[in-house]
Subunit: 375 residues, 2 copies
């Protein structure tokens, strides 16, 4: 039994790319989709209305951060994440696994779970698959994730093998612990860059049977060709009729790579984080609005962009705001970058439907492949 439904409505002739509709308790999501990251129950600098207006249909929130502050029980008491943050569309929470390993110190992994120190107050916390599921049930997202270990890169074959096996055992425990019928629990495939382990992990996870599958442990520093090889295995072994989510990815280039390997969902902090540093994605390439060359530039960030920022403000003004550390600067740049990412996904969906994905890719990536062309 699952609360979501996935319908593939278009398929690329030359690759595994597909476009579809993912129905959730909080609305329909056209795939492939980019999910803005709202770590602490807020996509940094944005209101929910702005996110909807720029085309976001699902956001990601981080279980690790929210469990620490304000606490999942508080969120539950206040009606769950949707109500807490006033976001009426779909939400996906991660399991906290990735952050336990990447953000906390002194973590100790056993088969039972992971012990780590809270980065907020240094207290010891013990997180298990069952606890991760309970926290995510309290948060109340539409899609929740199995608790997993994301091995670092590089890591030895033996380490990744033991880790992937543990992640598979944890996935069974997560499924057994999960009670809420208005949430879909996704499995996570690991296996690092070892295609044999990727295949094992995919088969083991699919055998447990989840309504959707995430591809974890990629874009953690490995060469592109290793990521592509792993994606190839995933595309072969994950059931075609279920949604696939490539975690923590990525760049505009990565989207095309992922989509061609049958990926439906993406998330990444990059558009929001780099925006606050002044790095802006445009059809004409990446620009850093803090550069002196934009000091007196009356043009919008991108003349081909239809976002609120580009319709109303000059590069000179946005640069002035960024140089002055004004909050409105972070707002305008974040809005622009998220618009670009969501709009790029919309163009990718159209490209799949119309059979001209290659053209869409060429148009979108030309400026990124040749930085000399950047504005």
């Amino acid at each position: 039994m699952t609360t979501i439904a996935f319908h593939i409505i278009g398929q690329d002739a030359k690759s595994a790319a597909r476009t579809g509709i993912l129905a959730t308790p909080h609305g329909l999501i056209e795939t492939p989709v980019f999910m803005p990251v709202g770590t602490k129950a807020t996509v940094k600098a944005m209101t929910p209305e702005e996110l909807e207006q720029l085309g976001a249909t699902i956001v990601l929130a981080n279980t690790f951060h929210l469990a620490l502050r304000p606490g999942d029980e508080l969120v539950h008491e206040l009606g769950g994440l949707h109500r807490f943050m006033n976001w009426k569309r779909a939400i996906l929470t991660d399991s906290g696994g990735f952050q336990v390993f990447s953000l906390s110190k002194l973590n100790k992994i056993t088969d039972e779970g992971v012990a780590f120190r809270s980065p907020l107050d240094g207290s010891m916390i013990f997180l298990t698959p069952e606890k991760s599921v309970r926290i995510q049930e309290n948060l109340g997202a539409d899609i929740i994730m199995c608790f997993d270990e994301c091995p670092p890169y590089p890591a030895s074959y033996d380490y990744v093998k033991a880790s992937s096996e543990r992640t598979a055992r944890w996935a069974e425990r997560c499924k057994a612990a999960h009670r809420r019928e208005d949430q879909a629990l996704f499995g996570i495939v690991q296996g690092g860059v070892y295609t044999e382990l990727r295949a094992w992990s995919a088969r083991a996870t699919v055998a447990i049977d989840f309504p959707g599958y995430a591809i974890g442990g990629l874009s953690v520093g490995e060469p592109k060709n290793e990521m592509i090889a792993a994606l190839g295995v995933m595309n072969e072994l994950l059931p075609r009729e279920r949604p696939r989510y490539l975690m923590g990815v990525g760049t505009p280039e990565d989207f095309f790579t992922g989509v061609r390997h049958g990926v439906d969902m993406f998330d990444c902090v990059m558009p929001t984080r780099t925006a606050r540093n002044g790095r802006l994605y445009t059809n004409e390439g990446l620009i850093n609005i803090r550069n002196a060359c934009y000091t007196r530039d009356p043009r919008p960030i991108s003349e081909s962009c239809a976002c609120y920022t580009c319709r109303n403000y000059s590069r000179a003004y946005v640069r002035h705001l960024m140089m002055s550390n004004e909050i409105l600067g972070a707002r305008l740049t974040t809005l622009h970058n998220l618009f670009y990412f969501c709009d790029l996904m919309s163009r990718i969906r159209d490209g799949i439907k119309r059979g001209n994905l290659a053209e869409v890719e060429e148009h979108a990536l030309a400026a990124y492949r040749n930085p000399a062309q950047t504005p």
Copy 2:
């Protein structure tokens, strides 16, 4: 000749309070009015659309800051402040005088002008009445201010006398230097807390003849009764048919004091600055949303408030955002406080029109006079 027109449309029977319409090249302003402060060509954390929606009809920008960065010539080149910051309603710029004395070090005053070090790069800058007017012409606000000296409090009678006389001489030079016909240049009355000097300064400034008058040098640390005495002199001596602007004031209580002494315009950084620290104005009193008592509070900041924040978010969520230093926290609190200030002015205008200003005051200030009642 002036570009603004002021029409008094209602007068309180028991005080000098009046309500009117100030017509500017960028729209009508109902007075008494609160002007949000947009120091660096942005009201911190707000878009122009949000300001309009919460009822702002004029904002203030700071000549001193903008002359330093991005520079008034750049703003002029990009079409002036309105276009630069995408604000379609009225703008008032101060003269830079106040900041020269309060923010810069090593300032040296002569009759010619003031020499001071730039707080940005330490370079020496020499500002004169003529330069202040030229900068403000470049910025292009609807209402601009004479270059003045705001004496500190306390200051000796002799110091304030000499300073007020110089400010009057500077006012003549400002008027002589002012060329733009689409801007109104306001005079500024000084005189500190010495009613005799206040009277002298008012007469001297009115003799030069300006389309509006600002009352400077109050709310700089003097006791309330001294401020009230000075306002009494101002009300007597400033022409009733011209708009009056009490600079840098103030609190909800100060608004009623000012309005009863015939003041039409107010500005203050307080609602925006305190919002970013979590201090929120409500009809029920002042609250600090960071207090632990709001951790699980599902109510809006104020149940009697109609602002976007109060219609959509709980105290618990706003507190969570503030404790996490999230940008959305600064947005929601700023919007709430500005709404409160603009709405309070709207209620004051209604009170004058309907003859129940005392009731409006009692309702608005009761909670502030008795902090035990705060929510």
